[in-house]
Symmetry: C2
Subunit: 301 residues, 2 copies
């Protein structure tokens, strides 16, 4: 195995997969005709307005390790992305992070209004669970219920939502490194972890394969957050597609504020290599996942 990261090949695959996911989500989130059609317009705006589709990519390529039917993997990938998009819509609200710009576009509550954005988030979250529960996701009910269980754990009060709460109160508690790491695990790590293990759940993977993917997800998730902090600290808004310099302006403890830019870069690179090492047992098939480990560290937006 002489793996090498080829950025052009990876980007083509990432874009191609994003296109597949967008088509799947387009079907799973139908236009509505009633007087309440504004809701599904907002849902579709929030879910289909772009994005790199990193989490769906992780689901698709962990599922591919176990030869899972792509149609099934796309449904789960879509559900993961719906949860991600709902969290962005709610986090961007004026009462939360109050962001006007997301992926270079007006955020959902700017494009529509606050009430519609709140409901669009609620609808996306609910639809994610509905999609997982439907037979198209897998004929085996135990697999579907496992997916529901893991997704709800990852995204609830002791996962993503709790992480967002922690982020909101972070300025009241000067977070140290272990607390910043805990915040990351809750707020973004849980869903990235779900994205990786959902492919394994669909593929009825062995315990040891599942553990490797947990470790990979841990490393990639942490590297992703460090890169995000670096982008906020050193990127410019136009390129990144959202406001930058927010963490420093708010005096927020991040990996970068605690380690400094250089050490954060080194740490991210270390995690990338560690993530790649976790994939040895899967052979060449895991190259798309190795690529992603490179990408999350190198990305400029």
């Amino acid at each position: 195995m002489t793996y090498q990261f080829d950025e052009a090949v990876f980007k083509a695959r990432l874009n191609q997969d994003a296109e597949f996911v967008n088509r799947a989500m387009d079907t799973l989130l139908p236009i509505d005709q009633g007087p309440e059609s504004r809701l599904m317009e907002a849902v579709r705006y929030a879910a289909l307005m772009g994005g790199k589709r990193v989490r769906p990519y992780l689901t698709l390529h962990t599922a591919a390790l176990f030869n899972v039917d792509v149609k099934r993997a796309l449904r789960v990938a879509s559900a993961v992305e719906m949860v991600h998009c709902y969290s962005l819509v709610h986090d961007d609200l004026p009462a939360m992070d109050d962001d006007d710009l997301r992926r270079g576009q007006p955020t959902c509550h700017i494009k529509f209004d606050e009430a519609t954005a709140i409901l669009a988030g609620d609808a996306l979250l609910t639809r994610a669970f509905e999609v997982l529960s439907e037979e198209g996701t897998h004929q085996d009910a135990t697999i579907r219920i496992d997916l529901v269980k893991e997704l709800s754990k990852a995204s609830g009060a002791f996962g993503m939502v709790g992480g967002q709460m922690l982020d909101l109160v972070a300025h009241e508690h000067e977070l140290d490194m272990s607390e910043v790491a805990r915040l990351q695990r809750m707020k973004t790590g849980g869903l990235i972890n779900f994205a990786c293990v959902s492919g394994a759940i669909l593929g009825k993977a062995s315990e040891s394969a599942l553990n490797k993917l947990h470790s990979y997800a841990h490393d990639v998730g942490l590297a992703f957050q460090i890169a995000d902090d670096l982008l906020d600290a050193t990127g410019d808004a136009e390129q990144v597609g959202k406001r930058t310099g927010k963490d420093a302006a708010q005096g927020k403890a991040t990996f970068v504020s605690l380690m400094g830019v250089e050490q954060a870069r080194e740490q991210a690179a270390l995690l990338r290599d560690q993530a790649i090492d976790q994939l040895d047992i899967f052979g060449d098939k895991a190259d798309p996942l190795r690529d992603m480990a490179h990408f999350v560290v190198n990305r400029v937006s």
Copy 2:
């Protein structure tokens, strides 16, 4: 069968069941210790601050028709109530109905703040699905996934959330009777229907029993909404426990504005009798459900 509504007996049972549900929810929504503990405080405030627990009662007593283990029924009843409570928290937000008072207490965003209330709602919704997915709910995964599927359908964009959107835009479209009825079916009917059929799902009820409970839920749900409109039109805030006279002030079409008070009262009574008729096949065992049909029409808060 000489059924007669005994209000004292019913109220004692309703209170007793509410106590059981409160205890179950207290366990299912644990206190958190981290710096983000404010989230679970708000979740618990929203979920445990009172309420008649009408939907849980429906789950418990439809489950009892099929001799379902009470521990299981209480988990499902709790999940239904979590979804109901989340919807109240989000609907009360300033961007939506902007209500300060709920069940005679400050609403969640008044007691805490908007960001916390949004997240508390998100957490409650997510936890509802998690509770359904856990093995304690039923050892059979097909039953658990059926519950997830039905709950997500009832509460998503084409159910409860869509109903709330429709309610928000109702003033832009002068709703006629069939549209007001559609609004009710989506906004409140779906969850009441789920409360009734969830007991039947847990009990692996026959198709015909399930259909009877669907019909019962339809009639009770509609009667409940008409009674709600009557309370808003004719009740006083202190007794009802929330602001009244809102519908008329907003010029909103309701069953009462379209039918008038007298005809609305007659319609509710008719639906009560019809609901009770649906229960014939279940014999005396269904008396608690007959009682509820009386109660939703007679209630003063």
